[in-house]
Symmetry: C2
């Protein structure tokens, strides 16, 4: 059995793990995201301090360059984090690692992790959406991870914004009141003056949040006809799910069946386990 | 070389054709959509009056049952046309035709036709959207036609509706002001009191129409990252394309590259040629 390496490269922390292709993690580290060179030095240190894995998968924040034929394959192309802009994460791993390296978006990797070991086992068409500081979505469609021309940026779809009910102008620097601008952790914090983590479950913030996420789930249901939508990320809480399910069904209005809307089975490990699944596919493609 | 049959089953007309797997049509008929039994009798008559094809593809209006294991596979499940509701189109073809029969949504079939012989040759991820009496969309994603749980109903996504600019409440019987409710041929006719065909090119109807379709193209771009979006159907006109392209680019705001937004290369034959492509795949799967 091969050892596999996974790197979840996030905007606030990197999670590195060594595990097996049954999804068990042998050792793991969390590294706060600092300057790129220093952060990647600590990543290298983690892997080089134990038995080297046979392959490494990287699940990266982005937008990223996923085209293997592009000169900047493995790079972060544009991000508000200025020192990471244009930085080649995949390339720095190849400096010290001689085995195969896979590179994916964080959300597609999490989708793959949930497909292999979590809430999407046996499914062919489903979405994995993370609602945190920002909002991002990955998709498996008819058994293949969706890349398209580059990769989706599902968090930036526009949904109806009823300004009479919600006068907040939106937090997205590109689009103001796109979904991310209205429903991300950042939007919640700016609208209500408090971070999502400390807002009580009975605060009206949550019904509004559920209604925006339901609009998105309905739009994605019409567009993809997914078997399931997995909603993860730091903003999601158990009590949001029934609100989102009910409102999504109302919006679909019987025209289509409401897909399952569920929590990730792998929880906060979906990303790093997805990275390990990517590594596994490098050794033994499925 | 095998003869192939195609049936484009539409709400206003059926187009039947016999052609080759290079996309050439040998003979063709248009049948106004009447009562189901009489319409299907005329379909049978067309095919039985010449050399029988080796396989037949059906590109159907819907919603339809595409699951081969379902008892009502090949049926229209729900439609405002009451006498077609629950009618099994695929089943009636099997009554007189012994060869393989393929059954798809009209929009997925048109997508396949454009992929084989038209504006999507060589692409892996693209959308085919028709804007006519209603709005529907098909998709190929990473080389496979998207079905998901059932099939998408892309026309029913919700987009921002600025009531100060457009006070029309929307024409969709299920969702009022979803995309179809705001931008279909039916919506145009009810909003402006005249069918789209007779509205002059310089009428403000068209800028509004382009803006709604651009909102949809932007949302689908964020969700699918498509290489191309093909816009067909009776409402589309050449002068709409530059308006839609410009507005979509504005909405994407540089966050993602704007996909090509183009007319179908097969024009009004995309559906029936897609049905022939489906038939071709029954004989020689690709």
């Amino acid at each position: 059995m091969s050892l596999l390496g996974g790197i979840e490269a996030g905007g606030t922390k990197f999670v590195c793990a060594v595990g097996s292709d049954s999804g068990e993690i042998a050792r793991e580290i969390r590294i706060p995201t600092g300057a790129p060179v220093e952060t990647m030095r600590r990543v290298a240190e983690f892997f080089c301090s134990g038995a080297m894995p046979a392959a490494i998968g990287i699940a990266s924040f982005g937008p990223v360059e996923l085209d293997r034929s592009a000169p900047d394959f493995g790079s972060i192309t544009s991000t508000p984090k200025r020192d990471w802009r244009g930085f080649n994460i995949g390339g720095t791993v190849r400096e010290w690692f001689r085995g195969p390296v896979a590179f994916e978006t964080d959300v597609n990797a999490a989708a793959l992790g949930e497909h292999r070991w979590g809430a999407a086992r046996g499914l062919r068409t489903f979405l994995y959406v993370t609602v945190g500081t920002g909002i991002g979505g990955g998709a498996m469609v008819e058994g293949a991870l969706l890349h398209g021309r580059a990769h989706p940026e599902m968090g930036h779809i526009r949904v109806p914004h009823d300004r009479a009910r919600d006068s907040f102008a939106g937090a997205c620097p590109y689009h103001a009141d796109c979904l991310e601008g209205l429903a991300s952790g950042q939007a919640i914090e700016r609208r209500w003056g408090a971070p999502a983590e400390i807002i009580a479950d009975d605060h009206p913030a949550w019904k509004l949040e559920a209604d925006y996420l339901a609009l998105a789930c309905a739009n994605w249901t019409y567009s993809f006809s997914p078997q399931r939508i997995i909603l993860g990320g730091g903003v999601m809480r158990a009590h949001l799910f029934p609100l989102i399910r009910t409102r999504t069904a109302e919006l679909l209005a019987g025209y289509m069946a409401t897909p399952d809307i569920v929590e990730p089975a792998l929880g906060i490990r979906a990303g790093v386990l997805g990275a390990i699944a990517l590594a596994s596919d490098q050794i033994r493609p499925r």
